[in-house]
């Protein structure tokens, strides 16, 4: 069965997108990219620092993974728009993971600033992938604004709390006209599988891999989990039943 994953007309080779933040070294990032077979990875935009050894860009180039700059750290639409513009010039891509967060403690998106930034960036020709909360209405508004995907959170960034509200994710999926990418909150493989089973098209995660005790093993786990969840979604799971149903035949019992 072919089951291509396409964003904005571009087919991506995997339904797993890796964030690169939190990893202990560039070497580990490279190894997790290999182990995960990730389609794309995110980077943040920061001041050039002469003291830094090596560049994440070299690692990404070597692994032939698509780059997705984010606007992490931005609190207003204005900052986020300008960060996206800088990223476009620096990295020569008009794809952007749009983040506009409201505070340090929750890192939750500010719905008003986020929608405003999305509208502005779409008008400037960007392909916008917004990191949003799990509100189906905001997800719809972002799609109406022309975003090429919506990326609702499972739970706040870095918490590892998994998918706090599966019902909302199902509502978003049920009416989505662009890919839905579960972004943030994934803690372990079963969370990623569940995201796919709820109907998400892909999963984006960073801390779950980069901060695991063994990031490379967890990267492989996530790759398998995303595939497992996607296959299970498409395979049509059995319904939940209150009472049991035998899996061995009830006829043909011997008289013992």
């Amino acid at each position: 069965m072919t089951d291509p994953f396409v964003i904005a007309g571009v087919e991506l080779p995997s339904r797993l997108i890796l964030g690169t933040g939190g990893a202990p070294s560039l070497h580990v990032i490279g190894a997790t990219l290999t182990a995960s077979g990730a389609a794309m990875c995110t980077v943040a935009m920061r001041r050039v620092d002469a003291a830094t050894d090596g560049s994440i860009l070299d690692v990404i180039d070597r692994h032939a993974v698509r780059i997705l700059p984010n606007t992490a750290g931005c609190r207003t639409a204005r900052e986020a728009v300008q960060t996206a513009q800088v990223a476009r010039e620096a990295l020569e891509t008009d794809w952007v993971k749009l983040e506009v967060v409201a505070d340090e403690r929750t890192l939750l998106p500010d719905p008003i600033e986020l929608l405003d930034a999305a509208q502005t960036l779409v008008a400037q020709g960007f392909h916008v992938l917004p990191y949003t909360n799990d509100d189906p209405v905001l997800a719809r508004r972002l799609q109406q604004a022309g975003c090429v995907a919506v990326m609702p959170l499972g739970s706040p960034i870095g918490t590892g709390l998994g998918i706090g509200n599966p019902h909302n994710i199902e509502l978003i999926v049920s009416e989505a006209t662009v890919p839905v990418i579960l972004d943030a909150g994934i803690g372990t493989a079963s969370d990623a599988a569940l995201a796919m089973e709820l109907g998400c098209d892909a999963v984006l995660l960073a801390s779950a891999v980069t901060r695991a005790q063994d990031p490379v093993a967890m990267a492989e786990a996530m790759a398998l989990a995303v595939r497992a969840g996607r296959l299970a979604r498409n395979a049509g799971r059995i319904p939940k039943r209150f009472h049991a149903q035998a899996s061995s035949p009830t006829e043909g019992m011997a008289l013992l």
């Binding site: 690169t20 933040g21 939190g22 935009m45 920061r46 050039v48 800088v86 010039e89 620096a90």
Partner: protein
């Protein structure tokens, strides 16, 4: 000529363009971009825009994140 680069004083030769500044600081024309006095300079204009004394420049690149 002195500009402010990423919040610190930085000496440049008169007439240095954005392209020149980026290459001299980062060693490459790829992977970074500049904001000059609050305006993002399009890559296509880098060779045409000369920096001026006292300008404030943010030189930005990709780092691990997200």
């Amino acid at each position: 000529m002195r500009i402010e680069l990423n919040g610190r004083p930085h000496e440049l030769l008169e007439g240095t363009t954005v392209a020149g500044m980026i290459t001299s600081v980062t060693g490459s024309a790829h992977g970074s971009a500049a904001v000059v006095d609050g305006e993002v300079v399009p890559r296509s204009a880098w060779s045409d825009v000369a920096l001026r004394e006292g300008q404030s420049v943010e030189l930005i690149t990709a780092v691990q994140g997200g």
